[in-house]
């Protein structure tokens, strides 16, 4: 399963997303804990 852990910048909870969130400019993550929405586009380290 291809997944990347991310931290919600608002509540700091951890969850995981498909790598496509780092590659699609319009895509944004939705924190399942606090519903905050944020982008991780191009943030992934090599």
């Amino acid at each position: 399963m291809n997944l990347v852990y991310v931290n919600c910048p608002r509540c700091e909870e951890t969850f995981y997303v498909d790598p496509e969130f780092f590659e699609v400019p319009d895509a944004y993550c939705h924190c399942p804990y606090c519903a905050h929405e944020f982008s991780v586009y191009r943030q992934r380290s090599a």
């Binding site: 399963m1 969850f15 995981y16 498909d18 969130f21 895509a27 993550c29 399942p32």
Partner: protein, 473 residues
């Protein structure tokens, strides 16, 4: 007999009152129902659960009872299909080839039209949809079939697709490109057209089984469901998708809407059948145009991530059929819950020819993309008893001689160990040589002695039940 969920519940409760548990105490949709189901599963008990007082995610009492664990008992489904539990996968598969063309009824004859909501009247948050596991982002439709129609063939296609209820009129849907519904949506997106779809929730267990069967895109799932049920499915025109868009008249709920072409929103993470959470994805969503339901409708939940027979039965039947063409002496097949009901197959063959066991493995491994590992055993191994399965694996298998490895094949998307889109399928030949003189004899006590010795003549029953149960034995 009427072929709907509530009629089935009434029939089953009268026949087996011990197998339907109604819970009147208030329970939260968030986690509490799953916690209760988890504890029952640990005791290996799978009654149909009817929760009559569910508090929604918003904290309000839902007007609708919730039914779950409907498809979790192999024993129950076997009795319903008048089949031995050990042969249920094979018999299900045979029945999946039968077709009964559906009939169309008027709206007045369709219970699912008893209550109709459109536009601002729609509020999906009032449904008792569950938040099953930690990290799920909200309430999910887990047991709903998503139906659409093929633009060229005109055939209906129905499949279970998880749907996150995101507000009063939006559902975010996992619609993988490899699925038939995903393919139909892709055809529409290519033309920049939204796709008309309907979720329908709550049906007779045989309708659920029939619609879950994998069939060609040119075939109708509604006709397959009728074949499984043994009577035609009753359909009725939709409210907002046109009279040519037919939905099941006897469902508990129908949720109509459009999958929006070219648009995506975050969906998930979601706890899946693998018993792991899958990652959040950038998925399509459904704008809901109408909700219709029975008066007194019951919401149906598939307790995903826990024991249920939906995938395993169809997996067994398809593998049996494919193996039988090459190895006619296959005697049985089982997709155990320890393999998530999908990834593992235990085959049993009457081995007459050296090498036939390996052919059986190749056929089973390629019978479905979700099958990852397969084992083949002789007829003296009870493949439904994992103690016996592991003993045969321990004593009849050698890693260099008895293994079949098929690398570079499509791997299950939700397998946490999947390295990429391609993975490796592996088969384990746990059969003895055909010539009995080339293998040791199993331990046995002469049959006449076994029959003469009655344990209770030596250790009375009340004393026997006091001896500690040993889980490590």
């Amino acid at each position: 007999m009427s072929a709907d969920l509530q009629s089935f519940l009434a029939f089953w409760e009268e026949r087996h009152p011990e197998d339907v548990v109604r819970i009147a105490q208030p329970v939260q949709a968030r986690y509490q129902v799953t916690a209760l189901a988890t504890k029952l599963e640990r005791e290996k008990r799978f009654p149909i659960l009817v929760f009559e007082n569910v508090r929604t995610e918003a904290g309000e009492p839902s007007a609708f009872p919730l039914v779950t664990y409907l498809m979790s008992s192999r024993r129950r489904l076997a009795e319903l299909m008048q089949a031995p539990a050990e042969r249920l996968g094979i018999i299900t598969y045979e029945r999946s080839h039968q077709r009964r063309q559906p009939v169309v009824v008027k709206r007045a004859q369709a219970p699912v039209k008893e209550v109709v909501a459109r536009g601002d009247e729609i509020d999906l948050t009032k449904l008792p949809a569950l938040v099953h596991h930690d990290m799920d982002p909200g309430p999910y439709i887990s047991g709903g079939f998503l139906t659409c129609y093929h633009p060229e063939y005109g055939t209906d296609n129905s499949a279970l697709h998880r749907g996150w209820i995101h507000g009063p009129r939006e559902i975010r849907v996992l619609l993988e490109a490899s699925t038939h519904n995903g393919h139909i949506f892709a055809l529409h997106e290519r033309r920049r057209e939204d796709l008309r779809v309907a979720y329908w929730v709550g049906a007779h267990p045989l309708v659920i089984l029939g619609c879950e069967t994998r069939i060609p895109l040119t075939d109708s799932h509604f006709a397959a469901a009728g074949g499984m049920l043994g009577q035609p499915l009753r359909l009725v025109p939709s409210e907002t998708l046109g009279d040519d868009f037919l939905v099941p008249a006897d469902a508990e709920f129908v949720i109509e809407g459009h999958l929006m072409a070219g648009k995506r929103r975050p969906e998930g993470p979601f706890g899946e059948y693998t018993r792991y959470s899958g990652p959040q994805r950038w998925n399509p969503y459904l704008e809901v145009t109408a909700v219709t339901h029975r008066a007194g409708a019951h919401w149906y939940d598939l307790m995903v991530g826990h024991s249920h027979c939906l995938g395993s039965l169809t997996r067994e039947g398809a593998a049996y059929e494919k193996v039988r063409r090459a190895v006619p002496t296959i005697t049985n097949v089982y997709a155990p819950m320890s393999g998530c009901g999908q990834f593992h197959l235990y085959l049993q063959i009457d081995k007459l020819v050296e090498g036939s066991s390996k052919i059986a493995l190749v056929e089973a491994l390629t019978s479905h993309h979700l099958v990852k590992h397969a084992w083949v055993f002789d007829t003296d191994v009870d493949i439904f008893d994992e103690q016996q399965v592991m003993q045969a694996f321990a004593t009849r298998f050698q890693g260099d001689r008895d293994i079949v490895v098929l690398p570079g094949l499509p791997a299950p998307t939700l397998d946490p160990s999947r390295p990429s889109e391609l993975g490796t399928k592996t088969g384990f030949d746990c059969t003895k040589p055909v010539d009995p003189r080339r293998f040791a004899r199993k331990l046995s006590v002469p049959q006449d002695v076994m029959e003469k010795i009655d344990l209770e003549n030596f250790i009375p029953r009340d004393r026997l039940t006091n001896i500690p149960y040993e889980r490590y034995g």
